[in-house]
Symmetry: C2
Subunit: 313 residues, 2 copies
């Protein structure tokens, strides 16, 4: 209700990200077994190279934390919710990683560095990088169809597929490329980011809620986490743009100042650094306010939102 | 039981392919509405360009025909089966088309012509072709999750995702590229094709059966169509290799003799043309024999298998 009330600090978020990240990483490391021995080892190597490169795991952590925030105390039913959320979290990271591998391709952003290491196509070649990305997409949907509770698997898959597809992340990437070297209005820039970054972050929250609710209609909770995800998505992207200007490649683990070099539209380019930071904090406040119906059980989500805005990498 | 008994002629198959193809095309044309207006129009144009280019629709027709063969007479339950099969058929064609668009890319097979028209990246550029392929993958899973009966959607998605992924089609493409310019044994060549072509053709049959059975365990039917799909997949690929040698680009709507030019391993290269044709007919006989448990209701499938071997394009 009152966005200026004290919220959890972003240092709590680091512990949460670490715990959720460890749970997700354990599943990601086990994925390879499902496809051996039929799958060619070099393909699985290329997939693991990007998948196990140690990202922040923000999206899967949001899935798990939202599930917890919407699920209350642990019961038998919630154990099943946790299993479904974990499948959704793993699928989310697969889709996110696929998008990074394809975005880095020479025909797209042509990046050499990602998460502090050479990009996938630099190591395995373009053909393998394209195929590794393709494979991660199919794996994402297979994981949910196999590991989530059957009653909610279709809803989770619908959510993820729509958020990743033409009216979501992939559509956003098309708009992003189309907007290079031509000035966008603030409204147009927000539309790019609502699709390119916002759709997956929002879906992460919604999938966590769907896993917790197990098919029960609780529109107020779903609406709350949807609003939270949307504001968080904008805040996150603004800070991404800011960090591209203010950080060194060593800090970010990828090339910096590349947005300007490519003629990309960014918040700092449009509003300046200070106004961009202010805007990110406005979005953070709105995200936190949206969580009111979840009361204290959403403290972890509040901390993670603050972390997304205060992070240095 | 007796594979040399008369089976339906391949001319029956043309009528079946036309009827099933029309049903699938109607759905494919309507897909665009689901993503407008949020999705960028140029992306939807690139998707439609390849999706509505008039393929043979063999895979979706197999889904629909297998569903019919396993479902018996039309009842209310079978109407729901038909809806699920249609969703699976549309998803199958989306996955197949995505694979063609990505396989044609400069980093992969670098083809200029497909289905009688310039390839996707020749018209829309490489970045858009990669993204259009990516988008078709997500759309495939969204269609099943949205339109198939919820009770069987997870099974259908698992089937499609596994057949398309690292231990299926995408794995086969990796093996195919890796095998260029080095001689494979017949056993190795069959492994390439079991994954690259066979996995999706087998999954087409299995998804049709799953839709018809609606979650009921009827292992003998599922086993029969699985065996049918595997033999059909090999027969289909052998004939594909043969046609690459014996046809003109005008007949096939794509470059011919390209396998040899790329140092690809093929059945005619390994066995010669005549022995390859004989082998395709052996696989056809085995496919037809596998359908014995379905008796007369599988006449359409038999006709389609014969068509796959006798086709000139």
């Amino acid at each position: 209700m009152n966005p200026s009330a004290p919220v959890s600090s972003s240092s709590d978020a680091v512990a949460l990200l670490r715990a959720h990240g460890a749970a997700v990483d354990a599943q990601l490391r086990r994925l390879r077994e499902r496809y051996s021995p039929d799958a060619p080892a070099p393909l699985l190597d290329a997939i693991d190279y990007s998948l196990l490169a140690g990202g922040k795991r923000l999206r899967p952590a949001l899935v798990l934390e939202t599930c917890q925030a919407c699920g209350g105390v642990a019961t038998v039913r919630n154990d099943r919710a946790r299993e479904s959320a974990l499948a959704a979290a793993v699928a989310m990271e697969l889709i996110h990683t696929f998008s990074l591998v394809h975005d880095d391709l020479p025909a797209m952003d042509n990046d050499d560095l990602r998460r502090g290491r050479p990009t996938n196509h630099k190591v395995f070649g373009e053909a393998m990088a394209i195929l590794a990305g393709d494979a991660m997409t199919t794996m994402a949907f297979e994981v949910i169809a196999t590991d989530a509770a059957p009653a909610i698997a279709p809803a989770l898959i619908r959510e993820l597929a729509h958020a990743a597809g033409p009216a979501g992340m992939i559509g956003g990437q098309v708009l992003d490329i189309a907007g290079e070297n031509q000035p966008l209005s603030l409204e147009q820039l927000q539309q790019v980011h609502r699709l390119k970054t916002g759709a997956l972050l929002t879906a992460s929250c919604r999938m966590g809620a769907i896993a917790a609710l197990g098919g029960k209609d609780e529109d107020s909770l779903l609406l709350a986490v949807t609003q939270f995800g949307r504001h968080l998505g904008l805040a996150f992207q603004i800070i991404d743009d800011v960090l591209d200007v203010t950080s060194t490649p060593e800090q970010l683990g990828k090339a910096t100042n590349k947005d300007a070099g490519k003629g990309k539209n960014t918040y700092p380019g449009l509003l300046g650094l200070e106004a961009s930071r202010q805007r990110a904090h406005m979005e953070l406040d709105a995200a936190v306010a949206a969580l009111e119906p979840l009361a204290q059980s959403a403290d972890g989500l509040r901390a993670m939102a603050r972390f997304a805005v205060e992070r240095q990498v």
